[in-house]
């Protein structure tokens, strides 16, 4: 049985067959190479001048409140920033040792081909769309923020200040605009063509071409090609990507990281009851055997005692019988002896009539 289906059955749900409905391919042994026509954006930091026009474009498209400092105020670049609920993209400035000019790098959601957020979400609030974007449905979100834990790029943000309807916020790659055939807000706003929108497969070709043509201008790496199983945003840079604050992320996609643990679930459900019932049966059997042994021991002890008692009784009876016989014999003997004595006395009396006194005194002896 398929693991996901199994889990949904476990949920007592059966309400929704999760198979086929989820766009984000999650824990599965089958490799997912992404949607073939998925779009993406290539960011070339050798072209980026840190003008923050992309930030402004994002702000306008999403109808976010205007920030305190205007978008043409470049002093904000002096402090490191991250995306938040009302700024889905930010540009940061990096002063790299050995270079006489700073390098700028834009950050926003990377739209993973197999998104960790989607895989981690326990209400399927995230969707990986065929156009490459990863979108979020706030109507089902429980607000657990596991997506934020899961994202290797620390992208999703949360509206902590909202007590009633706090939502997770992140770049949508302007999914609604793409559907209309338009460019994402940031790409549209970029004056230096540092951002290139197109099919991901084409963007990889473009990036390779740039590296080949200008080996002096780029490090030989397209960040996002393999990271986290591949992302739909790709990056070219003149220096190592780690110098631009981009995290070292393994090649494994989120589902691969958790597939083993999820796969163990049905096995635990299947095997544990068998083992535990076995353990119970063994302990019961042990008890039963112990009880039987005890019973047998008691029975034996009882029978031994009984037979011993019988023997004793028999012996006693025999002894009693012997005693009786002996006493009868003794009494008989005594009686005979007495009779003989009497006879002799009487005989003596007859022979010697003067000794009557002797006969008188011997009488009590005869009674005793």
């Amino acid at each position: 049985m398929h693991r996901r289906k199994f889990l949904s059955l476990l949920g007592g749900a059966g309400i929704a067959s999760t198979l086929g409905t989820t766009k984000a391919k999650a824990a599965s042994h089958a490799a997912f190479d992404g949607y073939p026509d998925a779009m993406g954006v290539l960011h070339d930091s050798s072209r980026c001048i840190g003008c923050r026009k992309c930030e402004e474009g994002c702000n306008t498209v999403n109808n976010f409140p205007k920030p305190e400092k205007k978008f043409d105020d470049l002093s904000v670049l002096d402090t490191k920033r991250r995306t938040n609920a009302t700024a889905h993209t930010v540009v940061n400035k990096y002063n790299v040792a050995g270079l006489d000019h700073p390098i700028f790098r834009k950050q926003q959601c990377n739209h993973c081909m197999e998104p960790a957020c989607a895989s981690a979400c326990f209400v399927k609030a995230f969707t990986k769309n065929p156009d490459g974007s990863v979108t979020y449905n706030g109507d089902v979100c429980v607000g657990c923020r596991y997506c934020m834990i899961a994202c290797p790029f620390s992208v999703p943000t949360f509206e902590y200040e909202d007590p009633l309807d706090p939502l997770v916020q992140k770049c949508t790659m302007c999914h609604p605009l793409i559907k209309e055939g338009k460019l994402p807000g940031c790409v549209q706003a970029c004056p230096k063509e540092a951002l290139t929108f197109g099919k991901r497969s084409d963007l990889i070709e473009i990036a390779r071409e740039r590296i080949r043509k200008h080996p002096d201008r780029y490090v030989k790496k397209i960040y996002g090609e393999k990271e986290a199983g591949g992302t739909n945003w790709l990056y070219l840079a003149p220096v190592k990507h780690t110098e631009l604050g981009q995290p070292v992320v393994g090649k494994k996609a989120a589902p691969e990281l958790t597939a083993g643990a999820l796969g163990a679930v049905p096995m635990v459900v299947g095997i544990w009851p068998v083992l535990l019932t076995g353990a119970y049966a063994i302990s019961k059997r042990k008890e039963k055997i112990a009880a039987e042994d005890q019973k047998a021991a008691v029975a034996q002890a009882v029978s031994e005692t009984q037979s011993a008692a019988e023997d004793k009784l028999k012996a006693a009876m025999e002894k009693a019988a012997k005693d009786k016989e002996a006493s009868i014999a003794r009494e008989t003997k005594k009686a005979v002896a007495n009779a003989e004595k009497e006879f002799e006395e009487k005989l003596a009396a007859l022979q010697n009539p003067e000794s009557e006194e002797v006969e008188e005194s011997s009488k009590p002896e005869g009674d005793a």
Binding site: S119, V123, I149, P152, S154, P247, L276, Y280
Partner: protein, 386 residues
């Protein structure tokens, strides 16, 4: 009457009342002004004390329920029988209040049932945790209910529930295995964020095995506390068996901790993380491994050998603290280790306050139940088998 009131308002109850009142104020603030108003959580640190302590530690420390009931009913260790009800009671309260505490942390607490009934994200390990915990709370409630039913005098229902003991115990172990391990598996998805000394593909196994330590240690620790405060509620059987329970569980915990130490050692070797031991995080890791794994293991062993209850009880404190240290390390201290210090998280006083509030609620409920219902003693009318 006035005498009774004087008795009721002793120091313990006054402190309880103050904490509960403060907790209600914080509760109001949390739900009126939002999570951001009472916590130090931010976009880089979405999970803080409420997950790290209330959920992670709460669930682990409530493991005494499945450990004790399995020992007694499945493995036939009948001499632990008097420990089952207190352990089940604690486990039920522990899990129930884990769910209560979770409501504070969720952005949309009223949608907590969504993953079960509305939109199942079955690819998520959190889905598994949610499913198992919700089922297990129900199982624990049924397992615990005979105490309440005996108290209420509902004999028929109580006898029916007693008949379910075996299947419920098996379900309890299955569900516990799954969600205890899944709590560790939650972090599998973030290899870049959790320090390599703690990150491992065996995290689910580590969490499950350490939950057994948490369960056994908690039964001993809690027994110590209960003997101090609730001695008068215990019957002869409970008192007679209590030492045996403590020594038996101590022996088990000693072995489990030793085993845990070695599998952690293997893990460090397999991932070749030895180089990290010489760093600051290495020190934290070594403190955890030697101070809260190996030390309690030895203390338990010595306590059992010497038949010294005091040493066993001290060991149980280290065992309980060890779980807290481990769960804190994984979920907070070693998590986000690559962030600069300025972006790291430390809980706010109000977050700590809510956690203290929840713990106080558990203790208050435990006291309410144990001073009324047959938990630490056998109900005279139900002597047969409970």
């Amino acid at each position: 009457m006035s005498n009774d009131q004087k008795k009721f308002w002793h120091a313990g109850n006054i402190l309880t009342a103050i904490i509960l009142a403060g907790g209600l104020v914080l509760t109001f603030l949390r739900f009126y002004k939002g999570i951001g108003a009472v916590t130090n959580l931010d976009d880089n640190n979405p999970w803080g004390l409420w997950i790290g302590f209330d959920l992670m530690c709460g669930v682990a420390l409530a493991a005494g329920g499945y450990v004790t009931s399995a020992s007694c009913y499945l493995f036939g260790m009948k001499h632990y029988h008097s420990a089952v009800r207190p352990a089940i009671t604690t486990a039920f309260l522990g899990y129930f209040f884990v769910v209560v505490a979770l409501l504070y942390d969720l952005g949309h607490p009223w949608r907590l049932p969504y993953p079960l009934v509305y939109s199942q994200g079955t690819t998520s390990l959190l889905f598994e945790v949610g499913l198992c915990v919700s089922l297990y709370v129900s199982v624990l409630f049924i397992e615990w209910s005979p105490a309440a039913l005996e108290w209420l005098g509902m004999r028929k229902l109580r006898n029916l529930v007693i008949k379910l003991t075996l299947p419920l115990t098996i379900m309890g172990v299955v569900l516990s295995t799954m969600h205890q391990s899944s709590l560790g598996a939650l972090f599998l998805i973030a290899p870049g964020k959790l320090h390599p000394l703690w990150y491992s593909s065996f995290m689910p196994v580590f969490f499950f095995i350490s939950s057994m330590v948490a369960g056994t240690s908690m039964v001993i620790f809690e027994g110590t506390l209960a003997h101090k405060g609730l001695h008068h509620m215990m019957d002869d059987t409970h008192l007679k068996e209590a030492h045996g329970v403590a020594f038996g569980f101590a022996k088990a915990a000693s072995f489990i901790l030793a085993g845990y130490f070695f599998i952690k050692l293997f893990d460090i070797t397999m991932d070749n993380d030895w180089k990290y031991l010489a760093t600051g995080y290495g020190v934290i890791f070594l403190i955890e491994m030697f101070g809260f794994v190996l030390l309690p293991s030895f203390l338990y062993a010595i306590g059992v050998r010497e038949k010294n209850l005091k040493i066993v009880r001290i060991a149980s404190i280290f065992g309980v603290l060890g779980i807290v240290v481990n769960r804190f390390n994984v979920s907070m201290i070693a998590f986000n280790w690559q962030l600069p210090a300025s972006e790291r998280y430390f809980p706010s006083l109000m977050e700590i306050g809510i956690s203290i509030f929840v713990v106080t609620l558990i203790i208050t409920a435990y006291r309410f139940i144990t001073t009324r219902m047959p938990v630490l003693f056998e109900h005279p009318e139900y002597k047969d088998a409970h």
